[in-house]
C-alpha cells in the first residue's frame, strides 16, 4: 500500500498527548507505516521527520517514549539533534539512547560522546553503556579517564573498556592497576580477562599470559568472591595459554 502521509495526521495528533492507559490503537497506523517504510526511503524520511518533531516541548513522556522506540528502528542522522537534546534530561535520557544506540550514523556516536563529557551520575553511566554497545573505539580515552573516578562510574567504565577491548582499551585497563576501589578493581579485572581472551583468540599467547599472570598475582591476597573468581579465571587462562591446541 502506498504511503499516505495525510492518513497519519490524526494518529500523530492523538499520539502527541498520549498517556499510559490511553487508546494505543489510535496510532497503530504509525506502527504499520514505520514497518512499511523499509521499502520506501521517501516515506521513511517523512516519517522520521514527523516523529522527531514530537520530541520537543508539549509532548507527553509516554509519547516521547513511543517516538524513541520508532526512531530506534528507522532513525538516521536526521533525527540525532532532536534525540541528543534529550540526553541530559533524567526522564528521557534512556529512551533517547534507546534510539541513538541503534542509529548507524557517526552523528549518533558523536552525540553520545559529547553527552559523556557533560552529563553526570547515572546519566553518564548511560552514555558509557551506549558507547560500549556501539563498540566505539574512539571514546576509549574519555571512558578510561573515568576509571579513577566515582565507584559506580568507574565500574561502568571498566565494563565498557572490556567490551570494546581494543589494544588502547586494554592498555588503559592495565594502567589502572593502582585503583583501590574494590568494585572498580573487580570490574577492571573482568575487563582485563576479556582483553586476554581477545589476545588469545589472535594467537598472542605471551601477551595474554602476561595479563593472566598479572591478574593472578594481584588477586592472590583477595578474599572476596570476585577476587577468588578472578584467580580461578586467571589460572584457567594461563592453562589455556599453555595449551597449544587452543587456537583462535
Amino acid at each position: 500500500m502506498a504511503y499516505d502521509p495525510a492518513s497519519l495526521d490524526k494518529p500523530f495528533e492523538i499520539l502527541k498527548a498520549f498517556d499510559w492507559g490511553g487508546d494505543a490503537s489510535a496510532f497503530q497506523p504509525i506502527d504499520a507505516a514505520v514497518v512499511a517504510a523499509h521499502a520506501d526511503p521517501a516515506a521513511r524520511a517523512d516519517l522520521e521527520k514527523r516523529l522527531a518533531t514530537l520530541l520537543g516541548a508539549g509532548t507527553s513522556r509516554a509519547a516521547k517514549e513511543y517516538v524513541c522506540r520508532k526512531l530506534s528502528l528507522i532513525g538516521t542522522a536526521a533525527s540525532v539533534p532532536s534525540l541528543a537534546a534529550l540526553l541530559p534530561e533524567k526522564d528521557h535520557s534512556h529512551m533517547a539512547r534507546f534510539a541513538l544506540e541503534r542509529i548507524n550514523a557517526a552523528e549518533a556516536t558523536e552525540a553520545l560522546r559529547k553527552a559523556l563529557g557533560t552529563v553526570l551520575g547515572d546519566l553518564k553511566i548511560g552514555m558509557i553503556s551506549s558507547l560500549a554497545g556501539r563498540g566505539d573505539a574512539a571514546s576509549v580515552p574519555a571512558i578510561a579517564a573515568l576509571l579513577s573516578g566515582e565507584s559506580k562510574t568507574a565500574v561502568a567504565a571498566a565494563d565498557a573498556l572490556g567490551r570494546i577491548h581494543t589494544p588502547e582499551a586494554c592498555q588503559a585497563l592495565a594502567a589502572a592497576g593502582g585503583i583501590t576501589d574494590k568494585a572498580a578493581g573487580s570490574a577492571i579485572a573482568d575487563a582485563r580477562l576479556a582483553c586476554a581472551e581477545s589476545l588469545l583468540r589472535q594467537g598472542k599467547r605471551a601477551e595474554a599470559k602476561a595479563i593472566y599472570t598479572s591478574l593472578s598475582e594481584s588477586a592472590a591476597a583477595g578474599t572476596t568472591p570476585t577476587a577468588k573468581a578472578t584467580r580461578l579465571a586467571a589460572a584457567r587462562g594461563i592453562l589455556a595459554c599453555l595449551d597449544t591446541t587452543t587456537t583462535s
Partner: protein, 436 residues
C-alpha cells in the same frame, strides 16, 4: 554455535582441571586439620547422616526472583539433601517473605537471609550457586554478575531476551569456569514421544517440524497505578525503560494475554519465547539442532483473503526447517511420522541408525543434573551455550514478525546480512545505571 570465540578460547572447567569440589574440600580439610588445634564443635547436621551428606558435600544455594516459577525452582532445590539453602532475593516483600518462610520451615530455624538487591546476595562468600527466575530482562545481567562472583547458575528459561545477550552470557560462564544451566525442565521430560523416535532413527532424516505456540510480545500501554509499598519498582524495572507501575505489567503469572510481564516486549519475548522455550526447545532437542543456529528466516505474509495468517519459518544449516504456526492446510500431507499436539515432525521415513539420547546427570531431573554438574564441573544438560542456540530461533522469528520480512543470519558474525533494521533489533540500550 555461539560466535563469541572468547567463549571458546578457554577450555571448559572439566577440561581445564580435573579437580572436583569434593576433592578440593578433602584436600583443604587435610591442610586445615594440620593447623587448627583449638577445640572445635561440629554439629550432627554438619557431619551428615544416612540421608544427608556432610556440610562439605552440600551445595550452598540462594535464589533470585522467588515468586511464581522461582518458588517452584526453590522447592526443587530445597528438597534436596545435598543442597543447603541459605538466602532468597526478591524485589517484592511478599515473595521474599514467602521464600524465606519455606526455607526456615524446612530447616526449623530463622537463618535464611532475605535480600531486595541481588548484588548483596552475590557478594556472599559462602554461596556456591544461585537459581534465577526473574523476568527475562534481568537474566543476562544477573547471570554475568553471578559468574563474576564465582557462582554457578541455574537460570529459568527463556535464558535470553535479545540475541546479543547470549554470547556475552556464554563468555562469562566460560571465563570463570562456571556451570550455567538453562531451565526448561520440559525439554527432556515432557516430549519423550518425539524425542525418543527421533533419536532412535525411526523417523529417518528429519525434514521439517511444525511448532504451534503463541506469538511475540507486544508493547505495554497499561495505565499507571499507585505503586504498592511492598515492591521496589525501580529495581523491578532495572535495565528496562521506565514505565509506571501496573500490576498487569509485572505480574508473574504464566499468561501472555496482557496481564503478566510475559506479555510485554520490554520484559519478555512473549509466548513465542516463553512457552516457545519448551516447544521449540523440545523440538530442537528431539531433532538434535542444539549446537546450531538458523541461517534463514522466512516470513510468509497472511493470505490476501485473510484465511491464512502470517507465519515464519527458520532453516538450519543441515537443511531442517522449523515452521512457527504454519497453517494446517499448508503442511505436508505425507509422510507425517511423528507428532505431539503442538509439534508435528516430518521425516523422510527412511530409518537411520539410532543415537543415544542425551540424559540428565545425577538424580532429580534437570535440577539434579545441575547439582551434579556443580559437583563434577561437567557441562549440564541445558548448558548455557545450548540454551542460547535454542533460543536464537524464536528470537529471530520474533524479529521477522516485527519487520514482516525474511532475513538471513550470519552465525559467525552474529548479525543479519543486509538488513540494518533487523540488526538494530538484536539488542537494546539498557536503562542507566545498568550496563551489559
Amino acid at each position: 554455535m555461539v560466535h563469541d570465540t572468547s567463549a571458546r578460547s578457554i577450555p571448559p572447567a572439566s577440561e581445564a582441571s580435573t579437580a572436583t569440589r569434593r576433592g578440593f574440600l578433602k584436600t583443604a580439610g587435610v591442610a586445615a586439620s594440620a593447623t587448627i588445634a583449638s577445640p572445635y564443635v561440629i554439629t550432627s547436621k554438619a557431619l551428615g547422616d544416612a540421608t544427608t551428606p556432610p556440610a562439605s558435600d552440600r551445595i550452598v544455594m540462594g535464589g533470585i526472583g522467588i515468586g511464581n516459577m522461582g518458588s517452584g525452582d526453590q522447592n526443587a532445590f530445597l528438597g534436596r539433601a545435598d543442597v543447603q539453602y541459605v538466602a532468597v532475593c526478591d524485589v517484592r516483600k511478599k515473595w521474599r517473605d514467602d521464600g524465606k518462610g519455606r526455607v526456615d520451615g524446612k530447616y526449623a530455624n530463622t537463618d535464611c537471609a532475605a535480600y531486595v538487591d541481588f548484588r548483596e546476595l552475590l557478594a556472599r562468600d559462602d554461596i556456591d550457586a544461585v537459581h534465577i527466575a526473574t523476568p527475562d530482562h534481568w537474566h543476562a545481567i544477573m547471570t554475568i554478575a553471578a559468574c563474576r562472583a564465582g557462582k554457578d547458575v541455574y537460570l529459568q528459561k527463556p535464558e535470553t531476551l535479545t540475541l546479543r545477550e547470549g554470547p556475552l552470557m556464554v563468555a562469562a560462564a566460560r571465563r570463570y569456569g562456571r556451570v550455567v544451566s538453562g531451565g526448561s525442565q520440559r525439554v527432556l521430560e515432557d516430549y519423550k514421544e518425539i524425542v525418543n523416535p527421533c533419536w532412535a532413527g525411526e523417523l529417518g532424516t528429519i525434514k521439517s517440524v511444525d511448532v504451534s505456540v503463541g506469538g511475540p510480545s507486544q508493547p505495554c500501554y497499561l495505565p499507571a497505578q499507585e505503586t504498592p509499598t511492598d515492591i521496589d519498582w525501580d529495581l523491578w524495572l532495572g535495565p528496562a525503560p521506565w514505565e509506571p507501575y501496573n500490576s498487569g505489567r509485572c505480574d508473574g503469572n504464566y499468561g501472555t494475554g496482557g496481564n503478566s510481564w510475559r506479555s510485554y516486549i520490554d520484559y519478555s519475548g512473549g509466548s513465542l519465547t516463553d512457552w516457545g522455550a519448551h516447544h521449540f526447545g523440545g523440538t530442537i532437542f528431539a531433532t538434535d539442532l542444539r549446537e546450531l543456529q538458523p541461517l534463514n528466516v522466512t516470513y510468509h505474509p497472511a493470505s490476501s483473503d485473510g484465511k491464512e495468517a502470517a507465519y515464519v519459518s527458520v532453516a538450519y544449516p543441515n537443511g531442517v526447517e522449523l515452521h512457527h504456526n504454519r497453517p494446517q492446510q499448508l503442511r505436508p500431507k505425507d509422510p507425517l511420522v511423528g507428532g505431539r499436539g503442538a509439534i508435528q515432525i516430518f521425516g523422510d521415513g527412511q530409518r537411520r541408525a539410532a543415537k543415544p539420547v542425551p540424559v540428565y546427570k545425577g538424580t532429580g531431573g534437570i535440577y539434579g543434573d545441575f547439582i551434579e554438574c556443580v559437583k563434577t564441573r561437567e557441562r549440564p544438560f541445558r548448558d548455557i551455550e545450548l540454551a542460547v542456540n535454542t533460543m536464537s530461533g524464536p528470537h529471530m522469528i520474533g524479529i521477522a514478525y516485527r519487520l514482516q520480512r525474511s532475513l538471513n543470519w550470519d552465525v559467525a558474525a552474529q548479525q543479519f546480512t543486509g538488513d540494518e533494521e533487523a540488526n538494530r533489533l538484536c539488542d537494546r540500550a539498557r536503562r542507566e545505571p545498568w550496563i551489559l
